[in-house]
């Protein structure tokens, strides 16, 4: 046997007949789809026509001012605690990776405590701070703890400090994902550590940090419902309050669920977009747009997906 190769010598073959074949039939998919539709339909019918459910009450309260105000508080809590959590998380991550043993220990202890205790316990703990510190302050400047730490304040404190611990781990992963040659090249150019982190390492770490941070935002939005235990008047608390007053507990739970679902759907959509932008990576062809330009490109109406695959 002798290996043989036909060498066309630069001439490309003029074309070929497309293959004609009968595709494989997936009968199982059709059958299972029919079964699933039947079950879901039956379920939807029984819920939709259940007289105990009183859907009219759901529609009546869906845009109730208390509910909408609660939703606003939920959004406020999510945005503020994420903002504080991200900022503090970056600081904690940089501390954790520093060569200073004091900083690494402090950061490690912080992470250990806030990741090692349930966030629900932390919420109640901050709310009850007055039990051990009736007054907070330095010297003659002090205030009554209960007037300082409102339910909203306690909720924000607990969620933000807890989030910082998780963000620290995400940021640390991002920083460590950056090729070691990058800070080395920056150092060789005479850039000090802080400048290297800010200009070279963190911008590249963003690619790894952004996608899980999107998940954190969505998780945070749902976690805010836990602060109902201290009555921080966010969406879930508002829904429960109305439900208890009117004996419409179940309807109000549906109202709350609808809004949570609506908000997480919007966030998921945004996250998917942002993630796609960042996952394309800085090292691929045409992916080298700056962060600012990427965001602007995303915000532009009627955006054409240009510059890359």
């Amino acid at each position: 046997m002798v290996s043989q190769v036909h060498v066309p010598g630069g001439a490309v073959s003029p074309g070929h007949e497309p293959i004609k074949a009968i595709p494989v039939r997936h009968w199982g998919q059709w059958v299972s789809a029919a079964i699933v539709i039947t079950i879901v339909g039956a379920l939807a019918y029984s819920v939709g026509t259940n007289p105990n459910l009183q859907w009219s009450i759901v529609w009546q309260y869906l845009f109730d001012s208390t509910i909408l105000r609660g939703m606003l508080v939920t959004i406020e809590l999510t945005v503020l605690s994420m903002a504080i959590g991200i900022a503090l998380g970056i600081v904690l991550a940089v501390m954790r990776l520093s060569t200073n043993p004091v900083l690494t220990t402090v950061s490690g202890a912080y992470l250990g405590f806030f990741r090692g205790t349930p966030v629900l316990v932390q919420i109640v703990l901050w709310f009850n701070l007055a039990l051990i510190f009736p007054r907070i302050g330095f010297g003659s400047f002090s205030a009554d703890t209960n007037s300082l730490i409102t339910p909203f304040g306690a909720a924000l404190l607990a969620l933000a400090l807890n989030e910082a611990a998780y963000m620290a781990e995400i940021v640390r992963g991002g920083i460590q994902s950056v090729d070691a040659g990058q800070p080395e090249a920056a150092h060789a150019l005479g850039m000090p550590q802080s400048l290297t982190m800010r200009r070279i390492v963190l911008p590249q770490a963003m690619r790894v940090i952004v996608p899980p941070t999107g998940n954190e935002v969505i998780t945070m939005l749902k976690t805010t419902s836990l602060v109902a235990v201290i009555g921080a008047s966010e969406l879930f608390t508002s829904a429960q309050t109305i439900g208890a007053r009117n004996f419409t507990t179940f309807q109000m739970l549906i109202v709350a669920s609808i809004w949570y679902l609506a908000m997480t759907t919007v966030l998921t959509y945004i996250q998917a977009h942002v993630e796609r932008r960042f996952a394309r990576g800085l090292t691929q062809q045409g992916g080298g747009l700056s962060l600012r330009r990427r965001i602007l490109a995303n915000l532009r109406p009627g955006r054409v997906s240009g510059g890359g695959r």
């Binding site: 090729d179 040659g181 990058q182 080395e184 090249a185 920056a186 150092h187 060789a188 150019l189 005479g190 850039m191 000090p192 550590q193 400048l195 200009r199 070279i200 911008p203 590249q204 800085l282 090292t283 691929q284 062809q285 045409g286 992916g287 080298g288 700056s290 962060l291």
Partner: protein, 255 residues
């Protein structure tokens, strides 16, 4: 010569854990010389290069760059370790080119070149921009100023990296196997840039496997093996008539 040496190493030792990488290096690099370091992988040549700009700290001996002790300050007979910012300040005068280029991928070629002069030396942007464009032109990449590293070939990336190092107007350039990661057909364009740089009188220390470059451009050549200098001399002599058995064995494999 001693007082004017650009780099002076006295009995330099370096270990990674229990592994002794440098076992007493003594050498002097004269200003404007192209000083080539040759040797098998693991011989310590790259580590020595990285000690010169304090990317690695040495465990024993002394290392001077332009008459200044690397990594320490001497008062009487006491040595004081330098602070991080002082080390960074010393590195400004030493350019380095890496095997894997290490361009900043989130910046264009021009931004890569401008970054350090603007942020570290705080030079006016307009001045740096003009100089950066000239440097890119000099390495033959004037038309690639706004390209990102991912859009450039390896040879182009390495030439941008050289321009980036030159933008700091260094007194000394370190090259750590600058052509080892390149496809064979791209090696020439990088060596051309280095050749021009040598002709202009830049002091260069080059870790390389490019024997031809060492022979043609080098003023001095050192063959290292197992953490020591085995043989040194003018490149033509060492390459043509190696005296040591280890040098002969190495050259017979690479030539």
């Amino acid at each position: 010569m001693t007082a004017a040496a650009m780099v002076k190493a006295e009995n330099v030792h370096k270990s990674f854990g229990h592994v002794k990488v440098l076992k007493g290096i003594d050498l002097e690099v004269a200003p404007k010389d192209v000083f080539c370091l040759l040797g098998p992988s693991g011989s310590g040549k790259s580590t020595f290069l990285r000690c010169i700009n304090h990317l690695e700290n040495i465990d024993g001996g002394q290392l001077y760059v332009d008459g200044r002790l690397v990594g320490y300050r001497q008062h009487g007979d006491k040595l004081y370790e330098l602070r991080e910012r002082e080390v960074a300040a010393h590195r400004r005068d030493i350019g380095m080119v890496f095997q894997r280029f290490n361009l900043f991928p989130h910046m264009t070629a021009l931004e890569n070149v401008m970054e350090a002069p603007v942020r570290v030396k705080k030079e006016p942007k307009a001045v740096v921009r003009e100089r950066a464009l000239k440097l890119l032109d000099r390495v033959g990449l004037a038309d690639k100023a706004n390209s990102y590293p991912a859009q450039l070939s390896g040879g182009q990336q390495q030439r941008v990296a050289i321009a980036r190092a030159l933008a700091m107007q260094p007194k000394l350039m370190l090259f750590d196997e600058p052509t080892s990661a390149l496809d064979p057909e791209l090696v020439g364009e990088v060596l051309d840039v280095m050749r021009d740089l040598a002709a202009e009188g830049m002091t260069m220390i080059v870790v390389t496997h490019e024997i031809g470059f060492a022979r043609e451009v080098g003023d001095a050549l050192v063959f290292m093996d197992d953490g020591v200098v085995v043989e040194a001399g003018p490149p033509r002599e060492v390459l043509a008539n190696p005296k040591q058995a280890r040098t002969k064995a190495f050259l017979s494999k690479v030539l």
